[in-house]
Structures are given as structure tokens and as C-alpha cells.
């Protein structure tokens, strides 16, 4: 869901790859490779933004007085906070998705 990795076929440059993955010597293969590359970029930028936002907030909340190293309390707090942020992301994603769908009606596919 968060798009940390690509889900579909590996992009192989050689035509000796498995028959399910068309190589770059075919138009279909090139098309698939471009699509996968674009999907990967979307997933990567989504993951990066998620990391930036959660790190900033969790640092703010958990490391109040920066010491010479992270205490175990701070470490535990950071891990818990991060898990919580992922949950929050999921909740927001669902809420936004269902709201958009109800505004647009069942026939719209984009906005």
C-alpha cells in the first residue's frame, strides 16, 4: 500500500528472461518497462515523503532534550510513533478515498 517496492514483474533488459516478462526488444516489453519505471518513481516519492513527515514529527515529540545519544526511551518512542504514523496514514488514505468517491459518484475515474 505504501509503495515501498514495486509489485509486478522485474524489468529485465535481456530477451532471455522468462516468457512472462517481455524484453526490451519488443514494443510490449519497452512499454511495460516504461510503465514500471513510472510506477516505481511514484512509489519511491511517496515513501520518501512519508519518511520525511514521520521523522520530523516523531523527532519533535520523542526527542525533547537532545543528549549525546538516543536513550532507549527515545528509541522506543520513535519506533512506536512511526508505527502510529503509518496507521494514521492508512486511516487518512481511506477517509480521503471514500470521500472523493462519494463526491464524484461511481462513474468518475479521475479528477
Amino acid at each position: 500500500m505504501f509503495g515501498f517496492g514495486s509489485s509486478s514483474s522485474s524489468s529485465s533488459a535481456s530477451s532471455s528472461s522468462s516468457s512472462s516478462t517481455p524484453g526490451l526488444d519488443t514494443m510490449e516489453g519497452r512499454k511495460q518497462a516504461v510503465m514500471q519505471h513510472i510506477r516505481n518513481e511514484t512509489a519511491l516519492s511517496n515513501a520518501q515523503e512519508l519518511m520525511n513527515a514521520s521523522t520530523e514529527r516523531c523527532f519533535k515529540s520523542c526527542v525533547v532534550n537532545p543528549g549525546a545519544s538516543l536513550s532507549s526511551t527515545e528509541q522506543t518512542c520513535l519506533s512506536g510513533c512511526f508505527d502510529k504514523y503509518l496507521e494514521a496514514f492508512t486511516v487518512v488514505s481511506r477517509a480521503y478515498g471514500s470521500r472523493v468517491r462519494s463526491e464524484l459518484g461511481p462513474n468518475e475515474t479521475s479528477f
Binding site: N46, R57, T76, C77, E87, A88, V92, A95, Y96, E103
Partner: protein, 88 residues
């Protein structure tokens, strides 16, 4: 890009449609990121618990809905002002 990929017109069209969909998806992702950080700051006070409390999840959900409501309202307000002033 299309030249070096040597795609026929039909495939280029397919790719363009895909790119349009992916662009729309990126906009959704951007919004979800924005709402998550915005609503986290409003709704989450205790960070140490490690799990989302039902009340917090509810708050996050409401936050998204109310932001969109507020946005719609302000757009309507602007439209009203424009028609009052008469053809801005």
C-alpha cells in the same frame, strides 16, 4: 521519448492514458500526505502509546472530511463575493 522507444501510435496512446492516471494518483498521494501531517498535528497528542486509539482514528477521519468541507465552503464564499461585486 516516444521516438527512441519506437512505439506505435496505439501504444503511445496507451502510455499517455497510463501517465494521466499515474499523475492523478500522484495528486491523490500528495493530498493524503498533506492531510496526514496536518491532521496528525491536530489529533495526535500522545505519541508514546504506539497504536492509534479509536478516538484518534475518528479525529483523523473527521479532520479530512472537515477540511474538504471547509475548502468547498470557501470556494462558494468566493463565488458569492464575485457575483455580488458583479463580474470580477
Amino acid at each position: 521519448m516516444s521516438d527512441s522507444l519506437q512505439l506505435d501510435a496505439a501504444t503511445q496512446n496507451e502510455l499517455q492514458k497510463f501517465i494521466a492516471q499515474e499523475t492523478a494518483q500522484r495528486k491523490v498521494n500528495e493530498s493524503v500526505q498533506k492531510f496526514t501531517s496536518l491532521c496528525w498535528d491536530k489529533c495526535i497528542t500522545n505519541v508514546t502509546s504506539g497504536r492509534l486509539a479509536p478516538a484518534e482514528a475518528n479525529c483523523l477521519s473527521n479532520c479530512v472530511g472537515r477540511f474538504l468541507d471547509a475548502s468547498l465552503q470557501l470556494v462558494r464564499d468566493v463565488e458569492n463575493k464575485r457575483s455580488q461585486i458583479g463580474g470580477l
